[in-house]
Amino acid sequence: MSRQQLLISLPEAAAMVKDGDKVGIGGFVTTNKPMALLREIMRLRRRDLTIIAPPSSMEVDMLLGLGLVEKLITPYLGAEAIAPLGPFHSGWAGKRFAVQETDLGTLVAGLRAHAMALPFIPTRGVVGTSIPSLNPTLRYVEDPFGGPPLFAVPPLEMDVVLLHASQADCYGNVQHLGATFVDQLLAQAGKKVIVQVERIVSSEEIRRHSENTSLTCEFVDAVVLAPYGAHPMASQNHYRVDAEFLKEYVRVAKACVKGQPGLFEDFVTKYLDNPGGHTDYLSIVGLDRLFSLGEGV
């Protein structure tokens, strides 16, 4: 009997995500976002999703703009200096999705609680803030050792977790070769984990530096080859954030907020619906543009 190979295509991976799923998204703000997987899922218009994401950006904003989100759990939605003051496609006034207000420490506590099968993890992080009054899943808990009360953070479940990393072998051993952000915890807490990578390498290559393996195949259910798959976000070791592309999206999304949805619809048609797949998307963005994003400021 031979080892199971986990390499599947982007459409096969997207088919693992169902309407109503709780979807975890890896990466951090504008770095290492599983954009190729998300574009595939958005193209299929998977809906009623619960999105669980560490600091997030355009990928979550687009899901909201397309009306695919039922509940959003993220501590941050923005693009730092490119859009410092918050969501761009602010369907927040009269919004049709629920928000479970959180901060990064609270999110990590919920994921950790689920990974460890604990009913809750206590946190002091939100004591005194408005977050407990805005997020009814958090409950006051007495300190059995006599200290001031804390908040109990219940487990955060995810049906499927989508991640982006540098490389993997066909058996699902993944190497980020850099910061892992919250990806390892998401993988420990998720029911199914799909990782898109810049390149597939041999088992020998992985084993040459097995200390670089950030997720062993125990935590991975599927691997997808997606070179430039984080575009327009940055991919560690490979390319920078495409700031001009993000700025264009922010303009489009802000026009949408002001009651001009035409530009957003055009953007969706051009980059989401018209391309026949990932490589088609890359040619629409243009190879010259992609290659110009190589490291170096």
Binding site: P75, P87, A93, G178, D183
Partner: protein
């Protein structure tokens, strides 16, 4: 030439921040705010070559670099080139108690140093303006040893009597024991820094108090720009201006693009 130009308010603020930093500090550069980043970098390049700086979960040391390419793009994975190591974000959170200095921003900052990144409005379900969210500020500011609050906007819209929502707790409704009563281990916000002024907090009431006016701002302007009554000490000390050496490093190695010199939006 560059060095002959008088220090701007933002440069003065950055130099103030740099002078608060000790060589042994562990500092988290959580945000993309050029003024705070400039302060930390300047400290590292002058009196704090051993300060541990965390950016995007990389631990970097910038003491000997020629120059920093872009202060507007601090949280960028290419900082890896100066990294001694990297930890997961989860590991960083478990180690927040070690952080000596962190920075918080806010759509609103109130007179007791509470900050709001959640949104503006009375009705949470129908906000007038939705903010970016708390990021890690709730947990970080609860636990880190001390923090500074920075805002590019000093107006009654931002400096408000009370925040509509609190994402990071400062001194609550005031009082030196307000944090210890809740069991919050960190020593809370120490300074509030804007392009108009540097403020601290009264030792007993923890109400915000003017410390220094920054170049270009008059007392009348400051009072009109603040949405509550600041405590103004009888003797107001002038902020010690940047030295030639500090300005030279700031302009030639830290802020090549001039975020602190000419861009009012940064």
């Amino acid at each position: 030439m560059l060095v002959k130009m008088q220090a701007t308010a933002k440069e003065t603020a950055a130099v103030f921040i740099a002078r608060q930093i000790n060589n042994e500090d562990y500092i988290s550069l959580g945000t993309n705010l050029p003024v705070t980043a400039a302060g930390v970098l300047l400290a590292q390049m002058t009196h704090a070559p051993d300060a541990k700086i965390n950016v995007l979960s990389y631990f970097v040391n910038l003491a000997d670099i020629d120059s920093f390419p872009d202060l507007g793009q601090v949280a960028n994975p290419s900082v890896a080139r100066w990294a001694d190591g990297v930890m997961s974000v989860e590991q960083l959170i478990y180690g927040i108690r070690r952080m000596d200095l962190c920075f918080a921003g806010g759509l609103q900052i109130d007179r007791y140093g509470n900050t709001n990144l959640i949104g503006i409005g009375d009705d949470y379900n129908n906000l007038k303006f939705r903010g970016p969210g708390s990021v890690g500020t709730s947990t970080v500011m609860a636990n880190c040893k001390k923090f500074f609050i920075y805002s590019n906007d000093h107006s009654p819209r931002t400096l408000v009597p009370s925040c509509d929502f609190i994402s990071a707790y400062g001194w609550g409704s005031g009082g030196a024991d307000s944090r210890s009563k809740l069991g919050l281990p960190g020593s809370g916000p120490k300074y509030v820094i804007t392009p108009k002024a540097i403020m601290d907090f009264d030792e007993d009431s923890k109400h915000m108090r003017l410390k220094h006016l920054l170049p270009g701002t008059t007392m009348t302007d400051l009072i009109q720009s603040t949405g509550f009554q600041l405590i103004v000490p009888e003797q107001l000390e002038e902020c010690e201006p940047p030295s030639d050496n500090e300005l030279e490093i700031l302009r030639l190695r830290v802020d090549l693009k001039g975020y602190l010199r000419n861009s009012p939006e940064n």
